[in-house]
Homo-oligomer: 461 residues x 2
C-alpha cells in the first residue's frame, strides 16, 4: 500500500478528485487485454501537463513505479500496473487542442480517442492514416506509446510516421519538447520517434502534434478466395511485385475461416475456400477503377485463386469485410485464451512461413489461427489454449519460442504493431544484439534514472 503521506502529497499536487486509492478503482485499472491482473497502489487522473510534471516529481522522489494508461486496449501488457505502483490514466486529458488544416496538423492530448482524430480531420478533407483495430476506443497516447498500426500501414506506414512533435515528462519530472510543427526539420536528435514505441519507459507524453494527409476520394475493396494458405501468400507476392500499392492487404488462413463459419459471414465463400485476401485500393473516383483492374490482372491466373469479388458500394465493401472483422471474437470458439503473436516476416517468406505454421499446428494439440496484415508480412498468429491446462500452456510456450526463432531466422521481427510489454520481453534478446540492448538500457537510464517508468516492460529481465 502507498503511504498516507504519499497519497496526501499526490492529492495536494493534483487535487482531491484526481487521486484514487480505493479498492474498486484500483481493481478497475488492474488489467489490460492480456489475461493478467496486477493491483496498483493508486490511480491518478491528471488534467494537465503540469499535473504530470508534479506527479512525476513525486514519483521520482519516492521511487514509485509509474505506468501510463490510455484505454487499456493493448495486447502485450504495456499498460499493466506494477504492484502498488501508480497508474496514470490520461482519460481526463482528452482534448483536441488545435486543428490546422492548411498546415495539415492536429495537436492533441494523449487521452483523445484515436478515431475522433480522423473524424475531425475528414471535415476538412484530411485524414489521420494509422488505423489500429482498436481505434474506436483506443486513446492516441497508447497508440504513440506502442507505435500502433493497422491495415493502412502497408501504404501509409505506422503511428511513428505521422507525428511531428511531442511534449512529454521524463522520469525525473522534466519537460521535453521534441520535433517541430513544420513538415521538415532536422534540429537536434529525433527524440520524437525515440519516444514513440518506447512503451512509456522513457517519458509520459502529454501532447502530440500529428501529421494529416489529404483524404483519398474513394476506396475499393476486393475479396479473394484461395484453395490454400500458400496460394493466398503467393498472391500477396504478386500484389507486392506490381506498382499499385494497396491501402490494405489482409489475409485470413484456413483456421480463421473455420472459426467464422458459425457466424454466417463465410456462407458466401465458394466451395473449397481455405484462405482469403482482402485488398483495398484508394485514390480518386476516376483512378480507382483502373487500379482495381490492374490488381485483378496481376492476380488473375494465380495458383489456387477461386474467386475475386469486388465491393462497389460502402455496404458491399462492409459485407466483404464482415468475415475479417468477425474474426477476433470468433476464434474464441476454439479455446478461451488467445495467445496473439503479431510477428512479421519479409513478404518473400510469407508463403514459407504459413507452410511452417501448418506443420507447427500438426505438432501441437491446440489450434493455431493466423490472419493479419499480409502486405507488411505482419501475421497475427493465435495459439488458442486453455489457461487452466498447465500442460497445454507449457506446450504453448515451447511452441511460441520455436515459432519466434523461425521468424527471426526468416529475417523477421517479434512484433509489427502490438509491442513487447510484459508478454514478449523474454524474446527481445533473441532479436536485439547484446551491445545494442545495453545501449537502449543506458539511454533509458538517462530519461529515467530511478527506473520508475513502466518497469518490467519492453526489456528482458
Amino acid at each position: 500500500m502507498l503511504s498516507h503521506d504519499v497519497l496526501q502529497a499526490l492529492t495536494t499536487a493534483l487535487g482531491p478528485d484526481r487521486v484514487f486509492a480505493d479498492p474498486e478503482t484500483r481493481a478497475l485499472y488492474s488489467s489490460d487485454e492480456t489475461p493478467r491482473q496486477v493491483m496498483p497502489g493508486a490511480v491518478l487522473f491528471p488534467a494537465s501537463h503540469d499535473h504530470v510534471v508534479a506527479l512525476m516529481r513525486l514519483a521520482h522522489a519516492h521511487k514509485l513505479p509509474v505506468v501510463a494508461r490510455g484505454a487499456g486496449s493493448g495486447n502485450v501488457g504495456g499498460a499493466l500496473p506494477v504492484a502498488n505502483g501508480l497508474v496514470v490514466s490520461f482519460e481526463c486529458m482528452n482534448r483536441i487542442l488545435e486543428f490546422d488544416p492548411l498546415n495539415r496538423l492536429m495537436v492533441v492530448q494523449p487521452g483523445v480517442v484515436t478515431e475522433d482524430i480522423g473524424e475531425l480531420a475528414r471535415t476538412q478533407g484530411l485524414f489521420y492514416a494509422p488505423d489500429p483495430g482498436s481505434g474506436a476506443y483506443s486513446r492516441i497516447g497508447g497508440n504513440l506509446a506502442m507505435n500502433a498500426a493497422g491495415p493502412h500501414a502497408v501504404k501509409y506506414g505506422v503511428t511513428r510516421d505521422h507525428v511531428l512533435a511531442l511534449k512529454a515528462v521524463t522520469g525525473e519530472g522534466k519537460t521535453l519538447v521534441t520535433g517541430c510543427r513544420t513538415s521538415k526539420g532536422v534540429t537536434g536528435y529525433d527524440f520524437t520517434r525515440l519516444l514513440i514505441g518506447s512503451e512509456g519507459t522513457l517519458a509520459l507524453i502529454t501532447e502530440a502534434t500529428l501529421k494529416l494527409l489529404p483524404a483519398p476520394e474513394t476506396v475499393a475493396t476486393l475479396r479473394l478466395c484461395f484453395a490454400s494458405n500458400r496460394s493466398a501468400c503467393l498472391a500477396v507476392e504478386r500484389v507486392m511485385r506490381q506498382p499499385v500499392l494497396p491501402c490494405a492487404l489482409e489475409i485470413m488462413d484456413r483456421r480463421s475461416i473455420e472459426a467464422i463459419r458459425p457466424t454466417g459471414t463465410a456462407d458466401d465463400l465458394p466451395a473449397g475456400t481455405e484462405a482469403l485476401l482482402m485488398v483495398e485500393v484508394d485514390g480518386t473516383q476516376r483512378e480507382v477503377p483502373h487500379l482495381v483492374a490492374a490488381l485483378k490482372s496481376a492476380l488473375n491466373g494465380g495458383e489456387g485463386l477461386l474467386e475475386i469479388r469486388e465491393g462497389v458500394t460502402r455496404e458491399q465493401a462492409q459485407a466483404l469485410w464482415a468475415a475479417r472483422k468477425s474474426l477476433s471474437h470468433a476464434v474464441k470458439r476454439y479455446a478461451p485464451l488467445k495467445i496473439n503473436e503479431d510477428v512479421v516476416v519479409p513478404v518473400s517468406r510469407l508463403a514459407d512461413f504459413i507452410d511452417y505454421l501448418d506443420k507447427l499446428g500438426n505438432l501441437y494439440p491446440f489450434p493455431i489461427v493466423s490472419f493479419g496484415h499480409a502486405g507488411n508480412g505482419n501475421l497475427h498468429v493465435n495459439l488458442m489454449v486453455h489457461p487452466d491446462n498447465t500442460q497445454e500452456m507449457a506446450q504453448a510456450h515451447e511452441c511460441l519460442l520455436e515459432m519466434i526463432r523461425t521468424v527471426l531466422a526468416f529475417g523477421g521481427t517479434l512484433s509489427g504493431e502490438h509491442g513487447i510489454g510484459t508478454e514478449k520481453r523474454d524474446y527481445v534478446g533473441l532479436e536485439i544484439q547484446p551491445d545494442t540492448l545495453a545501449l537502449m538500457r543506458a539511454v533509458k537510464h538517462q530519461f529515467d534514472p530511478m527506473g520508475i517508468l513502466n518497469p518490467g516492460k519492453l526489456f528482458p529481465d
Copy 2:
C-alpha cells in the same frame, strides 16, 4: 600531429593503403562546402565494418576525434575535420550489398552515391524517394547523417522516412544493429531514426537498409509566374489547401530571378514576373493530366498569377526547371560568399515570412536571395556577402540572428535539411529547450563516452 605509434596502430588495423597522414591528402580532406578549412591529423579509408570497429576502438583508446565523411558536399560543416583528428572517408565502402525488389529494399554501404540507388531501383520499377540537390555526387552515408531531403519531401518525406535498418559503430567501437528488414517492426527503441540526422555524433553508420517505393509512371511539371513574392506564397497555400499533393513545389523569389537573368534561363518569363513556382505531380499516365487540371483550377484566379506553363515532354520539363537549377551558381554574381540558411516556417506563414525577408533586405546592404521547397515551408535564404569585408560579415551575422528569431517566433525550425553542423550550432539553444538539450547530450554520452564523435558539431558550445 598524430603520434607515430597511433598511425602505426591504425595502419596495422586497416592495412597500409588505408591510412594517409601526408599533407596533400590531409589538405584534400580539410574542407566541405562551407568556407572553412581544418587540417585533420590523418585520413582513413576503411573497407569494411570490421575496419570501422578497429579504428573506433583505437580512437576511443587514444581519445582521438573522429569525423565521418561522405562526399564532403554538406553545407553546414558536418564533415569538417577536427584539427589533428581523424577523418574517416567512406569512399571505399561503396557497394550495394543487396537489392530485393519483392521486399522493396536495398542494403547499401555508406559510400554509395545517392543517385546510384535510385538508378538501380528503377530497373525494377521502384524508386528511392529522397532527392537532395547534391544527389549526383553525395554519398548515402552523408544523407543519413544529415537526414537529407530535396524537392520530393513535400510528398514523400525525408531520408529518415525511408530507412528500415542500420548497422553502425559507437564511439567505443561497439557494433549496433538497429531496425529490421520488414516494413513494420516495433521491437525496442527506434535507434534507426535516432542515428539518422545525428550528424555523426552518435555512431558511424556502416550499412543501411533502405525502403523503396513503386516508381510513379510519369511526372508533369508546371511553371507559374507571379507578379510578387507574396502572391507566389499565397499560391502555395492554395495548393496545400486542396487534395492533390504535388511531388515538388518549389519557389524562386524576385532576387533569384534577377540572379538568373544573365544566364538566359529567365528570357521566356512574362513581363513583370517577380516570383516563380515550379509544381510537379506524379502518378499514372492516365491520372496525371487530371491532377494537373485540378491544380490549375485551384491556382487560376489567384492574386498576381501571370502565367501557367506546362511541360509535357521530358525536354520541356527540363526547360521549365532550367531556371531553378541555374540558381545555386547564379546567385554568386551578387557576392562571392553565400550564407545559406535553410529555415522552415509553417506553410500558413510563408507569405508573411517572405514579406519580412523583403523588409529585412532593405535594412542591410547585401542582397538576400530566397528560393526552395515551398510546399514544406522550407526556404533557402541566402545572404550574399564578401567574406573579406569585416563590417559586412558582422552585419550578416546580426541579420541571421534576427531572421532565426523570427523563424522560431513563426513556429518554424532552424533547418529543414542541411542540418546544424558547425554553422548553426550557436542557434540551437534558441529552438531546443535546455532540459531537452541536456538530455540529448546525456544520450550522446552513452553512445560516445569520450566525446570523440564529431565534436564541435550539432550542439552549442
